[in-house]
């Protein structure tokens, strides 16, 4: 396994090579959503005709759709005409030293144990070395290339592997899926593409250009991961460092395809800016994530740790098409202040003997409002399908909310579906008990929360799990007493 910190250190410490002279060409399209802008994006990216057509179909679908009304929160007013749909790659304002950075942000980095050079890079402070994400990706790609693994930006995949993109794009999340997916299909900027060939076990965790670049992934990201027969890949998305972004709406699409006996593990740590105490200014994270276990005995596993965003609204789902395929969803969603999360999963059992497991751990503090929404459906062909759902809520304080909306649709009598749910509260007497043993309140909450989320964090790669654990305690700091 490659240690991303090492790589980043490596890069940040590298001697000045090419200088900062290559100012990234700035072009920003005027705000507004129309066919012209879509053609403009497509042309800018030098896309083939079929992709432009696909975008336009997405746009046509988008125009016919309305915002959903079933969610458990009030939909914020979104002015999609006020957004600029092409602004690429933006160079951040360069600062001269960490002294110019918000001290609160630095304190968080400190607590997360993020190395100094990386802190600089994240906050846009000049590093005494060239920081070139492309070259990172290149070294990294070299190793993968030997094994035939393709891991590149979406745009690059369109140029280099059009046949794969054409075959799988929209095959899991069609452009008509929902209004945000339709919007994404029309205007997606870039994203990641992964292809693991037959029989290959990807030897390292793939992450979106490491931590540092993850912040510039843009508003309408598109990710497509294909694991061919008997292959395995573990993919990490996101970043534990706090991410700020002026774009308020994030409507990404992630599609996973697992062929026969293949396994895809997809892990997310989401820590977008949640807004201030009153919820002003936070990100709306409206993402469509879905995987299909197309081949027999394949497996897709989603793990998410959601601590950021003003509104998190997503249901990473699995379609269990292949016989004996398996789907998993492990989630920790934390809300505090005025944050909202309406998240969960959908598992569709289609093939015979398919299995699924859902472990959802909601944590609500402050005035946060946390909803778990899940659907388990079993089709007529899915003999002996099994599902186990565990859906827990942990409340901190008296002003937060938590809700569970489990839906079950079974059309096969042999299916076994189990659902368990618990709600608990971190009580003052628990905190006092721990205080009395020499543990301060902050640590006490962390101890209880870590115990509560253990089952989910165990699914993450080790280093990531440790950071996620720290992130959780930082997020909940000051939420008790």
């Amino acid at each position: 396994m490659i240690n991303s910190n090492e790589i980043i250190d490596d890069i940040a410490n590298k001697e000045y090579e090419f200088g900062f002279t290559t100012d990234i060409e700035m072009d920003i399209a005027p705000p507004g959503l129309n066919e012209d802008i879509i053609r403009f994006i497509s042309a800018k990216k030098n896309e083939p005709e079929w992709l432009l057509e696909w975008r336009l179909k997405g746009f046509a679908a988008f125009k016919k759709m309305e915002f959903p009304k079933w969610q458990h929160f009030e939909m914020p007013a979104l002015d999609l005409q006020a957004v600029s749909y092409y602004a690429a790659p933006r160079k951040k304002k360069q600062l001269n030293s960490l002294d110019e950075v918000d001290p609160e942000l630095l304190a968080t980095f400190e607590k997360l144990g993020i190395p100094l050079n990386e802190q600089k890079a994240l906050t846009g402070v000049a590093v005494d070395a060239v920081f070139d994400s492309v070259s990172v990706a290149t070294t990294f790609k070299g190793k993968l290339k030997e094994m035939g693994v393709i891991f590149c930006s979406f745009g690059e995949a369109v140029q280099e592997h059009p046949e794969l993109v054409k075959k799988y794009l929209g095959s899991v999340v069609p452009h008509t899926d929902n209004i945000f997916a339709a919007l994404n299909s029309a205007v997606f900027s870039d994203g990641s593409f992964v292809y693991i060939p037959k029989g290959v076990r990807c030897p390292m965790e793939l992450s979106t250009y490491f931590r540092i670049n993850a912040q510039n992934t843009g508003q309408f990201e598109r990710t497509l991961i294909i694991a061919d027969d008997n292959s395995y890949v573990s993919y990490l998305e996101g970043c534990t460092a706090p991410m700020r972004d002026e774009n308020q709406l994030h409507a990404a699409v992630v599609e996973l395809v697992a062929l026969e006996h293949a396994e895809i593990k997809y892990s997310t740590v989401q820590n977008w800016y949640p807004g201030d105490k009153d919820g002003k200014g936070g990100i709306y994270n409206f993402v469509t994530k879905r995987g299909i276990c197309k081949g027999a005995a394949s497996k897709i596993s989603w793990t998410q740790v959601e601590t950021g965003s003003a509104i998190t609204w997503k249901y990473p789902s699995v379609i269990l098409q292949g016989d004996h395929s398996e789907g998993e969803f492990y989630s920790v969603a934390v809300v505090r202040n005025k944050q909202i999360a309406d998240t969960g999963t959908k598992i569709h059992h289609i093939g015979k003997g398919t299995k699924s497991r859902i472990i959802s751990k909601g944590i609500s503090a402050g005035h946060g409002d946390n909803s778990y929404r899940g659907l388990v459906s079993v089709g007529p062909r899915a003999d002996n399908a099994r599902n186990f759902t565990q859906c827990d809520s942990l409340l901190i304080g008296n002003q937060c909310g938590s809700h569970t909306f489990p839906y079950i649709e079974s059309r096969n009598k042999s299916a076994m579906i189990e659902h368990e749910a618990t709600t608990s509260k971190i009580g003052e007497d628990q905190i006092f008990y721990l205080n009395q043993r020499g543990i301060d309140s902050e640590k006490a909450v962390a101890l209880i929360v870590n115990g509560y989320v253990k089952e989910v964090l165990n699914q993450l790669p080790m280093e990531f799990a440790v950071e996620a654990q720290k992130l959780l305690s930082i997020t909940l700091e000051g939420s008790v007493g």
Binding site: S424, G427, E428, D429, Q430, F432, Y433, L434, N435, Q436, R437, G438, I439, D440, S441, K443, L447, I448, N450, G451, Y452, K454
Partner: protein
């Protein structure tokens, strides 16, 4: 070691402690008895720093420090331990992990390095044996699903692990059968030494047959109305509390 002077405290506007005076020296074993609702647990809570109690008057000194100025965790780190009358359950937090965290927090406060895993396990084994604590309870969640007796024994085990200077045991004997009572008392007796002091809160004389106190205090209506030696406990067992209450009323009406 501990000096309580004229301590008054209230909870939710209700006066509970109404002028407690108590002096505890190193190595002493004090028993506090008294009818239900007289304020025994409240006294323990105030000493430990539970924040729903407000101290309205008085002082508490612990090894030269003003205890009332310290946070609950700092009181614990200074060496005040409370074995709870009703230990809480904390699901998901293993007994072992909890103890390691507690021990290392206390050590850090004293400027000591964290115990290494091996040393910690060694200590755990040693103390388990000392107080006869089942090792299969170690990996379970803290007190979750423990029987009443197991919870009380866990309190004593924690006491052994954390090695405080002052241990306050709040009705550790209630709800224990005679065997468990013997085990718990044996544990406490083994932990007694010249440096450590105990305050044992109990309803029953029977505990004091195992744990012999140096002093027995009767707490009634928020005050210590009588102090004696272990014979007082026997007398209380025989005659109940009414005669003391009458004595008190007589005194007060004078």
């Amino acid at each position: 070691m501990l000096t309580i002077k004229n301590l008054h405290a209230e909870v939710e506007g209700k006066k509970i402690l109404k002028g407690i005076n108590l002096e505890i020296n190193k190595g002493e074993m004090h028993a506090i008895m008294g009818p239900n609702g007289s304020g025994k647990s409240s006294l323990a809570s105030v000493l430990a720093g539970r924040d729903n109690y407000t101290v309205t008057e008085g002082e508490v000194w612990f090894n030269g420090k003003n205890l009332l100025d310290l946070s609950p965790e700092d009181r614990a780190r200074e060496g005040v331990f409370l074995a709870f009358q009703y230990p809480v359950e904390i699901p998901g937090v293993s007994n072992l992990n909890f103890l390691k965290t507690a021990l290392n927090e206390i050590r850090a406060y004293k400027g000591l390095p964290a115990l290494e895993a091996r040393e910690f396990l060694k200590l755990t084994k040693e103390k388990q044996q000392l107080v006869d604590f089942h090792s299969n309870l170690m990996n379970r969640s803290l007190n979750e699903g423990f029987s009443g007796g197991e919870k009380k024994r866990n309190e004593i085990f924690q006491l052994a692990m954390l090695d405080p200077q002052l241990a306050i045991l709040d009705e550790t004997d209630s709800g224990l059968d005679i065997d468990a009572l013997r085990i718990v008392s044996n544990g406490v007796n083994k932990l007694r030494d010249a440096e450590k002091s105990f305050v044992v809160i109990t309803h029953y004389q029977r505990l004091l047959e195992y744990i012999i106190p140096d002093f027995v205090h009767v707490l009634y209506n928020g005050r210590i109305i009588k102090t004696g030696t272990k014979e007082l406990a026997l007398e209380l067992e025989e005659r109940g509390y009414d005669w003391l209450k009458e004595e008190l009323h007589l005194k007060e009406s004078v």
